[in-house]
């Protein structure tokens, strides 16, 4: 079972005050720390588990600059066999172009399954995986939280709203977008990092993939970004811990919850 897993590096924005840069179209990124997109840990783990059980190769792919190789090295350390970085140069692809670039790269590879994230933590569009599936002409399922290969098919649980799963069977080859919680991603071991250094990490440019600038027109544009509108918001409770506790208990009492 050969599996391709698409990964991405994203800025860590929890507990960080975001600032907008001079263009007004994106945030200031320089001061931020970067991590692997949370969903991708689960996608890599799912791929590596299948490879361990069924054999075959796992290839990790990312679109990004040299710094983004960090997430490929992480995938290799977790057990992926090889990695490909597509260097976008000066291009900032939208979701559609990301899918188009990935499709061109992956179309030459041998695979039974492709795993992508449900969505990335930065833009949250949730479109790249399924657009990629369609570009490659693959059957697909979005938001998969359980999977089990069976004779040329894969049985999946798709997470629906309200605590309901849809159970379906999909013909291979197929693309699945992987939901968090599907497994317990392994920690990266020292041994894994050492082994990863010996694995292949190939870099390709958009020109090498055969793209010309005309092929790379985005379908959507960010006109502006802005901080959430100030709403009434929460009434903030201040004071010592004991005073704050007292206030909470009082509010609870007002709402009919007595302790």
């Amino acid at each position: 079972m050969n599996i391709i897993v698409c990964v991405k590096r994203v800025p860590l924005t929890q507990e960080v005050d975001l600032e907008i840069d001079d263009t007004g179209k994106k945030i200031k990124e320089d001061a931020l720390a970067y991590v692997i997109n949370d969903w991708d840990n689960y996608a890599i783990e799912a791929a590596v588990q299948l490879q361990e059980n069924l054999g075959g190769e796992v290839t990790a792919v990312t679109i990004g600059n040299e710094d983004d190789e960090e997430v490929l090295r992480r995938a290799l350390a977790m057990g992926a066999d090889r990695a490909i970085r597509i260097d976008p140069g000066d291009l900032t692809p939208d979701g559609y172009l990301n899918a188009k670039i990935l499709a061109k790269t992956i179309s030459d590879l041998d695979y039974d399954l492709i795993f992508t994230r449900v969505q990335s933590e930065d833009h949250n569009t949730g479109m790249v995986g399924i657009m990629l599936a369609e570009q490659l002409g693959l059957a697909h399922a979005a938001i998969v939280n359980s999977l089990e290969p069976e004779d040329g098919t894969v049985k999946v649980h798709v997470e629906l709203e309200g605590g309901i799963d849809e159970v379906s069977r999909i013909q291979l080859p197929a693309l699945l977008t992987i939901q968090t919680g599907i497994n317990e991603p392994r920690y990266v071991s020292i041994m894994g990092i050492r082994k990863a250094k010996k694995k292949e990490l190939k870099v390709v440019s958009l020109a090498e993939l055969g793209f010309t600038p005309d092929d790379l027109t985005p379908q959507t544009f960010i006109e502006e970004v802005f901080l959430p509108p100030e709403t009434d918001g929460a009434e903030m409770i201040e004071g010592s811990p004991a005073e704050m506790a007292e206030t909470i208990i009082r509010i609870m009492g007002e709402k009919g919850v007595t302790v």
Partner: protein, 322 residues
Amino acid sequence: MGDIFVIAEHRKGEVRDITFEMLQKAVALAQALSCNVTAVLLGGRNEPFADDLAKRADRVLVFEDERLKTYNSDLYVGILAALVQEHQPFLTLMGHTSWGMDYAPALAVRTGYPLATDASDILLEEGRPQVIRQMYSGKLFSRISFNPSPGYMVTVRPGAFKTDLANDKKGEVVPQSLPEGLQGRREFLAFEDTAAGDVDITQADLLVSVGRGVGEADNIATVKELADILGGTLSCSRPVVDKNWLPKFHQVGTSGKSVKPKVYLALGISGAFQHVAGITGADCVIAVNKDKKAPIFRVADYGIADDLFTVVAALKARAKGA
């Protein structure tokens, strides 16, 4: 100008709320654009939905096939792509739901129409749609424009639009025939309820709810203890279930349960949209989070920008001393 198309979503014999939310927004946009609203229904034979949709649309196009009794990726994309090519709708609205996220991106690629996802609002700028949507889990908003195209596609965030207008349209219901030769590569087997369990968080008056901010599995116990002391029920946000720190029946939110307690005490929960959607029925939300910019403070009634363990300890001391 082409119509505004709204693709209906239904599950287990009921039209999902998102359908009516999209229709109300579509009617408002259609007035501004002087065009019509078409609802599109893909369903099993003799589904009772079409008349309900006809009250809210100028026309309802109905595709009937037993394979469409529940959602089917390949059939949705195949049928809708042929329909879009025939009618060239100016704007096609789909739910930003599990199923919408499954077919909308594929439909956009197959038709060549540009797509923006998870819209919390749709504007018109020089006759073209623009979309307002969140990024970074709600810490930033963006305004998205499209490359010029005969038509545009948008998935709409559930709950973003109201459904409070009069439903006095009398749209014509027009049966459609399916395109030839459609094959499904994905076979529906069953629905499975994953949120059933020992504790019913939907009935609690007080929910003491814990999020990613709790840090590690061992810290859950101290929050559980607080819930017990206060006579409340323990619940949680998604990351806590993802990490196997609590079973899924504790989970509040879109993929878990919607709750309606008198008081919802959110401890270390950032307030992602998927979580907040599950607590709109709470009478009072009190949020504790170290990050004073956490989105939870925009929806909470009361907030404490502090370490959750400090507050948990103080609450325990106060409750025991009471």
